[in-house]
């Protein structure tokens, strides 16, 4: 599908002068959500940076209706909201906009419950790979070796494969996206909005404050994560896995950019030794092996 930037809605849903840090990926992501869904979107936001971006009374930093809710209840609140809207005969789209901590750690049981019940809303996990709002603490989506304020010598664990965990609930739509590829993210949001049932989108969002890089590089780093293969763009639609461009051309490791290009720009990986780097590369290779195994089983590769 061709993507025409000039055909995108011109209305501002993200107000200039809000509380986001310079170069904030959540602001960019929210902007794409508003471009894709417009007036139809109702946000459900658990605690996180977005709670701050909304601003203080009397001004609001976003012009979408927002329900602020506690960490553990985002998916439950969205279930109720979506059911109430359907009873009233409204076709508004409920969108949960939760961080990685609010999804993979604290909100996981509510997310799993809503996925299992097949509630009708879109769950977007904005994955900036640590608890950025509270001061860069490690979450279960922090990659191996990354510095955070609670893992000074690098994260010993591995990133939780959350999209696969949600896909294992047999929900109609699970996708990964990146703020560096708006055409991909916007088309996935539009597709998710047209599907009835539980939809999950995992949005990769490099945070300049927590990842220790120049705020001007937010988009470049998001694109490098995909180009080096560290982040894979794919979608599970009714149980069928499909790689999306540009990840569909990166199955062959020789086509990918060297991982160092992505790692070297980030201060959180500054302490990495060659052995840690090998470990990270092995982990990425394992992720790709899992994906290609499914594609082979489907007969798509």
């Amino acid at each position: 599908m061709a993507f025409n930037i000039k055909a995108l809605p011109k209305k501002n849903y993200i107000m200039p002068g809000n509380a986001a840090c310079p170069g904030c990926p959540e602001n960019i992501g929210l902007k794409f959500v508003s471009m894709a869904l417009g007036e139809k979107a109702t946000l459900v936001v658990p605690a996180g940076c977005t709670s701050v971006i909304q601003g203080l009374w009397p001004r609001q930093g976003t012009s979408m209706p927002v329900l602020n809710i506690v960490f553990a209840a985002a998916a439950s609140a969205a279930s109720g909201l979506s059911r109430a809207l359907r009873i009233r005969g409204k076709d508004d789209i409920v969108v949960v906009w939760a961080g990685d901590g609010g999804t993979a750690d604290i909100g996981l049981q509510a997310l799993s419950g809503a996925a299992e019940r097949g509630e009708d809303f879109i769950y977007i996990c904005v994955d900036n790979e640590a608890y950025m709002n509270t001061g860069i603490q490690r979450s279960s989506l922090t990659p191996h070796g990354a510095w955070t304020t609670t893992t000074h010598r690098g994260n010993p664990g591995r990133k939780k494969p959350l999209p696969q965990i949600v896909a294992a609930h047999r929900v109609p739509y699970v996708a990964t996206a990146s703020i560096g590829y708006p055409w991909d993210f916007i088309s996935k949001l539009k597709k998710a909005a047209s599907i009835k049932g539980f939809k999950y989108i995992h949005l990769h969002a490099p945070c300049p404050v927590g990842w220790r890089f120049d705020p001007g590089l937010t988009v470049k780093i998001a694109q490098l994560a995909v180009e080096t293969g560290a982040w894979i763009l794919y979608e599970h639609e009714n149980g069928k896995l499909k790689l999306n461009p540009p990840s569909n051309k990166l199955v062959d490791p020789s086509k990918r950019k060297p991982l160092e290009e992505y790692i070297k720009l980030q201060g959180r990986f500054r302490h990495l030794t060659d052995r840690d780097l090998e470990e990270l590369k092995k982990e990425i290779e394992e992720n790709w092996r899992e994906i290609t195994a499914i594609l082979r089983a489907q007969g798509d590769l």
């Binding site: 930037i5 000039k6 995108l8 501002n12 849903y13 993200i14 107000m15 200039p16 002068g17 809000n18 509380a19 986001a20 840090c21 310079p22 170069g23 904030c24 990926p25 602001n27 960019i28 902007k31 909304q54 601003g55 203080l56 009374w57 009397p58 001004r59 609001q60 930093g61 976003t62 012009s63 708006p182 300049p208 120049d214 705020p215 001007g216 590089l217 937010t218 988009v219 470049k220």
Partner: protein, 130 residues
Amino acid sequence: MRLSSRKPRKSLLPGDTALADSSPSRKDELVVEPGDHFYPLSIAAPGSMGRTGSWRIQRPVVDAEKCIGCYLCWLYCPDNTIIMREKAGPRGQDVASIDYEYCKGCGICANVCPVNAIEMVDESKFISQS
């Protein structure tokens, strides 16, 4: 409550005015009149954190000659501070302009520009001129 472009008689908070439109040219005031029902609801307005242009340490400067009007900076700007002026360029192309009142100076626009039409200039240079 209504929006007025005139001087407000009574503002929402003492000494406070909420801007109603995102365009820098229109600065309407939110007016509460006697007899209005008053709901403590937030209204989407620019500057919920004040004039964030003061956060900037580097200022993006657009070269209208180089700009090809591709809208990439407009697409990626996290704060919606890029305003595309239609057919305003020297070759009749759309040109990016920046709302310096709210631009936080992150530099994403300069990095995504395919023709390097946006340059990041230190704010100190603009202080010494004025």
